[in-house]
Symmetry: C2
Subunit: 163 residues, 2 copies
């Protein structure tokens, strides 16, 4: 048997810069243009955002003022998510609102930035700002980390396939 060198799984770095924020940092082994497409093309988003679950993209108007609405069909149930785009700067930055049907009217502002690392990789940073510390903590303790890693692992696989 050959000795296999298995790389450790890539993890996201999750921090809380202020009492109302969650900051997520993650590097993807793909050029920025490809990562941008995976975040903004509904056909591609449908392949990773739902972590392997069926994802119905009811609405995804990637432009300032546009709305988005995704419905995830998981074994545990159906979950709707929605929001609206505040800013879309191609290849660089998307700012949108994020709301889960299970807690309607609780809205976070998500600012996603993409950084070209110059070696074919891309670093993304996603900062979520909540109205209150309690809402931020509610999100932190919702199992978001596990869901996030599953989504990003699916995104890793998609980006490799797109190359």
């Amino acid at each position: 048997m050959s000795k296999q060198v298995k790389e450790p799984p890539v993890r996201s770095k999750i921090t809380t810069p202020t009492e109302r924020e969650i900051r997520i940092e993650r590097v993807f082994d793909a050029p920025r243009e490809r990562v941008w497409r995976a975040f903004t093309d509904p056909k591609l988003v449908a392949q990773w955002w739902g972590r392997g679950n069926k994802l119905v993209i009811e609405r995804m108007e990637v432009e300032r003022g546009g709305h988005w609405r995704f419905v995830e069909h998981s074994p545990e149930g159906v979950h709707g998510f929605e929001g609206r785009y505040r800013e879309v700067t191609p290849m660089e930055r998307i700012v949108h609102t994020f709301e889960w049907d299970g807690m309607p009217g609780h809205v976070a502002i998500e600012t996603l930035t993409l950084e070209d690392l110059g070696d074919g990789r891309t670093r993304i940073v996603n900062v979520s700002l909540f109205h209150t510390n309690e809402e931020r903590d509610g999100m932190l303790h919702s199992g978001m980390e596990q869901g996030l890693e599953q989504s990003y692992a699916a995104l890793d696989r998609l980006l490799a396939k797109l190359s």
Copy 2:
């Protein structure tokens, strides 16, 4: 000529309890049940919310998780507003999000409470919570006070008519 005693116009009391909030207090000369109806029946809302301008109520699902969307047709242009209900407690309290198309993705949480003053009048308190101090100040300096007084004066007239 008879001497006319003209009452001063009723004004709202607008304060800023924290750096991210605006608090509005106003008394209406009508029982709480009637004020509640004026805030929750689309046919009635259409008669005062737009300050005399045509108001198209595209969506108004007054229940937890429901959406609302109003479009005001003023001489200066067409303005859309929308949001989602977080809480609806009949006669007492409505919590919903508020967003103006002109600044998409900038979302305030509005908490409206109705207090029965016991003498046929009703006090409403509406607290808006913004994500940042800058967004709060943007709203304060948007001419909101004038618009608010126009809306509430129209509501005074509607409440008198409903009696």
